[in-house]
């Protein structure tokens, strides 16, 4: 029985040994980096002083320090400008404090008359911190040119995507508005065109009646099932503004000088912003239905006249709406029955981060989340590049192909992410070239779709001017 005993103890040892398990190696982290939050700022925008922000790649765990060198063209330190803390021999020293993740210094503009010949450049020249490296936004310029780039995280509001965010690349600024805060857009350009709010899935159908008071719900009952987004009926494309942003393809026909040509429209007000919390990765963009209106739009000189009422009303309200010079449109809301502010001036935004109504070939109109529409009416154009053609980092001004720029406002659209599967992902193989109304050309690539909890509605992108 001796060999048996041996074997038995062998088995016991095997049981014991294989019941515990070992852990493997860990991956090495990136070095500690201090960098400027942005790459540049317009000197003319600074009145007296400005905070110049710096960010760390991670929260500092130790104390340390770093040095910034100053190089000024056509400006003299101490006469035209100073900094706080003050520079010594053209260098600013800043402390890295354990526990902090940002830092800043103050730029004081002493000479209000600095012109476009002036350029002041700050460069991170040394970082005294364990395992650190100088990389990323290592320089920051104050000059008179358009913003050279950086990162922007438009606050669309998480999985309900509550906001439309208008982003100006050259000004590095964002303006956000409540998505269901407006209904109709009365365009400011030469023709007379009225748009509907596609971000809340509105739809509009022309009726054969010219007297708004003659229409009741009974007259349009059949039509109401069709005038909606997402019915999977290709015929419903007629009831939305064409999603490419072409001002000549709105659901509401051009307003005629001859009132008898301006018919009453049945308007589906779409859905309120959703309020539910979906599972991480999902969106809840549509809330309660907002109901219906009947409207009729007329012209009065260079203004619009809007007649509107609930479906069964036998009388109607009327409001005169003026065009807004410098803006794409004047916006009207049925929530307040008044004109509301929505878009920034036409040349002050390039991209609109918004839910939008799109068309799926063969299935009609459909609601798309995470949309990015460029300002077609404000003369922004764009095109996409895939990484099998060029690497984002390597793409330069010489690679831009002028003929590729497209007007279709959906060039970015929803093409930057894939949400068809349970796993919602960025598409890593695409980036975009955007030309703003002033001719600045930027390359732009998305870096975020979800937040750290895996929730949708947290887009982020990086961009850089091509020159």
């Amino acid at each position: 029985m001796k060999p048996l005993k041996k074997l038995f103890s062998l088995i016991v040892v095997l049981l014991a040994v294989s019941a515990c398990s070992s852990d493997d190696n860990y991956l090495t982290s990136d070095p500690f980096v201090v960098a400027f939050e942005t790459l540049s700022e317009n000197l003319g925008d600074i009145e007296n002083s400005e905070n110049i922000n710096l960010v760390y790649s991670e929260t500092a765990e130790n104390n340390g320090a770093f040095t910034i060198s100053i190089n000024a063209e056509n400006a003299v330190y101490g006469i035209d400008f100073t900094t706080q803390p003050a520079a010594v021999d053209g260098k600013i020293m800043l402390q890295i404090n354990s526990g902090s993740s940002t830092n800043n210094f103050v730029f004081n503009k002493l000479n209000p008359n600095l012109d476009e010949t002036t350029a002041i450049t700050f460069t991170i020249s040394n970082i005294d911190y364990p395992d650190s490296e100088i990389r990323g936004n290592t320089t920051f310029s104050l000059n008179s040119e358009a913003a050279t780039g950086g990162s922007i995280a438009p606050e669309v509001g998480g999985p309900n995507e509550q906001f439309q965010v208008y982003v100006d690349l050259s000004g590095r600024s964002s303006v956000k508005v409540q998505r269901d805060g407006w209904d109709l857009a009365f365009h400011s350009y030469d023709g007379f065109r009225v748009g509907i709010n596609g971000s809340i899935f509105m739809a509009a159908a022309e009726l054969q009646e010219t007297n708004i008071d003659n229409i009741s719900q009974a007259d349009v009952e059949d039509l109401m099932t069709q005038v909606a987004v997402g019915t999977f009926d290709p015929a419903n494309e007629a009831y939305i503004d064409y999603p490419d942003g072409d001002i000549n393809r709105t659901a509401i026909k051009e307003i005629n000088l001859d009132d008898s040509q301006n018919k009453v429209y049945l308007v589906n007000l779409g859905y309120e912003v959703g309020t539910e919390t979906p599972v991480p990765g999902g969106v809840a963009i549509a809330g309660d239905a907002r109901g219906w209106r009947k409207i009729r739009v007329l012209r009065n000189g260079d203004s619009y006249v809007l007649q509107y009422a609930n479906l069964n009303d036998t009388s109607h309200q009327e409001i005169t709406i003026n065009k807004s010079a410098g803006y794409n449109a004047t916006f009207f809301s049925f929530n307040t029955n008044s004109v509301v502010n929505v878009e920034p001036e036409a040349d002050k935004w390039d991209l609109n981060f918004t839910v939008f109504t799109n068309i799926i070939d063969g299935f009609g109109s459909y609601a798309f989340s995470d949309g990015v529409l460029h300002n077609r009416k404000g003369d922004v154009t764009a095109y996409s590049v895939t990484t099998d053609q060029y690497n984002y980092d390597d793409f330069g001004a010489s690679n831009v192909i002028e003929n590729n720029f497209k007007q279709d406002q959906r060039v970015i659209g929803d093409s930057w992410r894939d949400v068809m599967n349970n796993e919602k992902v960025l598409i890593d193989t695409i980036f975009y070239i955007v030309k703003d109304p002033n001719g600045n050309i930027y390359k732009l690539k998305f870096t975020g779709l979800l937040n750290e909890n895996g929730e949708r509605g947290f887009p982020e992108f990086k961009y850089k001017i091509l020159q």
């Binding site: 048996l4 860990y26 980096v33 960010v55 899935f201």
Partner: protein, 711 residues
């Protein structure tokens, strides 16, 4: 990354060589037991050839030959049964006659075993450990009268061991298995350890305890597991790793014809789902990244209590009463994993799905004092409570979870009328009352005729229903563009099956060669089949679950066995045609046929105490009609084809030292099958696309070393 693959055979060989040098070999010839006793669907336990039902038995010896640790390991070679592993949930389902595991019931000692999605049905076969199992009985066809709802395509009845021949039976084994070509001492492959002790305390009292640990480290297939920080789809695993621990206990008392046993089973399973998606969290300013991933860990816990008493009243009426309480809880821990820092953040823990049930079943047989007529009556009651959280199910937004109570009170009776030695008929009937559905009536009728020269004829007509699942009842998916809603008014699907078996037992050359041949014909139909239906005139597009469709399968199969000396072989073939009515369409219900073949060969060399086995199965091309959209945007029917494949296992089993040590060396999946293609033929919006169905993880090797001490 450390990635070394130790070629398993190279590792195993020295050990085999070591043991081969021992020449203590005993010359025993084991005789195949012809009259296997079965219990499934029987009034009283009886021999296979006396059973009115056609019962297939997988014996302990068959299980040992395949070194099967759980049910999924041993069913791959059975005719008509297909095992379908789900690589993303870690589960293995079964499909029989084209119907998935919702239609199939798994029982342990005649009572259904719970899982988080069902009671008996929807069973994950990998959760049914075989270490204390005596045999597995399989019956094909609807068994609703005997086993209630969801026994539509068939049942598996796992029979546990309840006695020992010697005072003490102590067993321990380790099993080391490669997963495809992947094997490492800890982090690759499959590692199983088991320990069991059985003891006869007195002549009447027997007890055993079993502990098994099964560590499947996942099929990596070029993936890099948890600690990988690139977003190239290679993080995580191809098949999820899981660790199962199972502890079981049995206490039994028997005296004269009174038997009582209590059996307890605890299972714990941990499934690690490391997302292949890495969110790089790039910081554009510092040009650094902090990759994170959304990972999930599922923990399954199953508790099973079963108290069973059998005996006779007034020395006449045999009773068999089971009481059982079972529960299974699947919990989810999800968190953001900061990959490079090996840290978890935003940890959320909660119940994912849970089900608990009180179950009792009692049968009383020999109710009539007659040799010609035997009558059995019985009851079955199930109080089942299930719940699913919003993460597990698509339910109405705002609701945190849905719970459902399903109470069934069933009564059934069956009678076996023996007209002669040779001809008997067995009608059966069940009525089922429940809190959710209208009263259901189910019937069955079987007949058996024996003829001269070993011929046996059986005809079995059975019915069974399938109860609607959670999604079908409660789903609520709202989207601006479409809506999917459950339907609380759904009826159970109604299934009916007819089987006709012709069997012949023969022996040639004075019993040196024994043959069993069988040809069977089957028909199985489902009506009120539940499918999603588009609601007319609704905006947005609305789908609702409705009882609209039907399903039929028709086929023939043959199973044959030959025993000749130390050699035995089984050969089988099956042709099954499936016809489905899709979304109440009038076309596309043609029968589409599928061929399956299987062959099991065994050869024992008594002098060496060694058995060589090979198990083979071929599954022919499978077709089905699917609705697709063509270029013109019209919905059309298309034929989808799933490629044919072959599965083969081979083992060598050798025992030493008077059977105290047993070594099994084997290969699974000899043909190295991984994924098979499914593709549509015709043009369409998604033409040319083919999807891959995971079948296996490729050819793998195992060594099992078992030590049995009986005294």
């Amino acid at each position: 990354m450390k990635r070394t693959y130790l070629f398993p055979i190279a590792f195993f060989l020295p050990i085999v060589a070591l043991f081969s040098q021992n020449e203590i070999i005993k010359d025993t010839t084991k005789i195949e037991k012809l009259d296997e006793v079965v219990v499934t669907g029987q009034h009283n336990p009886q021999a296979v050839n006396k059973s009115v039902f056609e019962v297939k038995v997988i014996s302990r010896k068959d299980i040992e030959r395949q070194a099967g640790n759980n049910l999924a390991d041993i069913l791959n070679n059975s005719l008509n049964i297909n095992i379908s592993p789900n690589t993303s949930s870690g589960k293995s389902g079964v499909s029989l006659f084209g119907l998935d595991s919702q239609y199939f019931k798994v029982l342990i000692d005649n009572i259904p075993i719970i899982n988080e999605e069902g009671m008996g049905n929807n069973t994950d076969l990998t959760l049914i450990n075989l270490d204390d199992i005596e045999r597995v009985e399989i019956v094909e066809g609807a068994m609703g009268v005997q086993y209630g709802s969801n026994a539509v395509s068939g049942i598996i009845n796992v029979i546990t061991k309840k006695s020992a021949k010697t005072d003490w039976e102590i067993g321990a084994y380790v099993q080391e298995e490669s997963v495809g070509s992947e094997y490492e001492w800890f982090n690759r492959g499959r590692h199983i350890q088991s320990l069991s002790v059985g003891h006869n305390f007195t002549e009447n009292i027997y007890a055993n305890v079993v502990y098994t640990r099964n560590d499947f480290t996942g099929f990596w297939d070029g993936h890099f597991g948890e600690k990988y920080d690139r977003n190239d789809g290679l993080r995580g695993h191809e098949w999820l790793p899981k660790l199962q621990q199972n502890a079981k206990m049995l206490l039994s008392y028997s005296k004269n014809d009174f038997n009582i046993f209590y059996r307890f089973d605890y299972l714990n399973e941990n499934i690690e789902e490391y997302s292949e998606l890495v969110d790089l969290r790039e910081n554009g300013a510092t040009n650094t990244s902090k990759p994170i991933s959304q990972d999930r860990i599922f923990t399954n816990e199953r508790l099973y209590h079963h108290l069973n008493a059998t005996g006779s009243l007034f020395k006449k009426v045999n009773y068999n009463i089971s009481l059982s309480y079972q529960e299974q809880t699947k919990d989810l821990e999800r968190y953001t994993y900061i990959i490079r820092e090996n840290q978890k953040e935003n940890v959320e823990e909660g119940e994912y799905q849970k089900r608990s049930a009180f179950f009792s079943r009692g049968t009383f047989s020999n109710l009539i004092d007659s040799k010609k007529v035997s009558l059995q009556a019985g009851y079955e009651l199930t109080n089942e409570r299930g719940s699913g959280s919003a993460i597990a199910l698509a339910i109405s937004p705002g609701e945190e979870k849905v719970t459902q109570n399903l109470d069934n009170y069933d009564f059934f009776a069956s009678s076996e009328i023996t007209f002669s030695e040779r001809f008997s008929v067995r009608p059966g009937f069940r009525v089922s009352f429940s809190n959710l559905f209208d009263t259901q009536y189910i019937g069955s009728l079987s007949a058996k005729q024996t003829l001269n020269k070993g011929w046996e004829l059986r005809a079995v007509l059975g019915t069974a229903n399938r109860t609607p699942n959670y999604d079908e009842l409660y789903t609520e998916i709202f989207h601006p563009s479409h809506v999917i809603i459950g339907n609380r008014d759904l009826l159970p699907e109604k299934g009916i099956s007819t089987f006709f078996h012709i069997k012949k037992n023969s022996s040639l050359s004075d019993g040196k060669i024994r043959l069993k041949n069988k040809v069977s014909f089957n028909y199985l139909a489902l009506k009120d089949r539940i499918e999603r239906l588009i609601m007319e005139g609704q905006s947005p597009l609305t789908f609702k679950y409705s009882n609209i469709d039907s399903y039929r399968t028709i086929g023939a199969f043959s199973e044959n066995e030959i025993f000749f000396g130390n050699f035995n072989a089984q050969l089988g073939a099956s042709v099954q045609g499936i016809s489905k009515v899709l979304e109440a369409r009038t076309d596309g219900d043609d029968y589409l046929f599928n061929l399956q073949l299987n062959a099991n060969l065994g050869y024992t060399v008594p002098k060496w105490n060694t058995t060589f086995s090979a198990l083979y199965k071929y599954i022919g091309e499978q077709q089905q009609f699917v609705e697709t959209t063509n270029d013109a945007g019209e919905t059309v029917l298309d034929t989808e084809k799933t490629a044919a494949y072959s599965w083969m296992d081979a083992t060598i089993n050798k025992s030493f030292f008077e059977d105290t040590v047993e070594i099994t060396l084997g290969m699974r999946n000899l043909f190295d099958v991984t994924n098979i293609d499914t593709s549509s033929l015709n043009s369409g919006a998604y033409s040319g696309s083919s999807t891959q169905i995971p079948i296996g993880y490729g050819r793998s090797y195992f060594l099992k070393l078992a030590y049995n001490l009986n005294f």
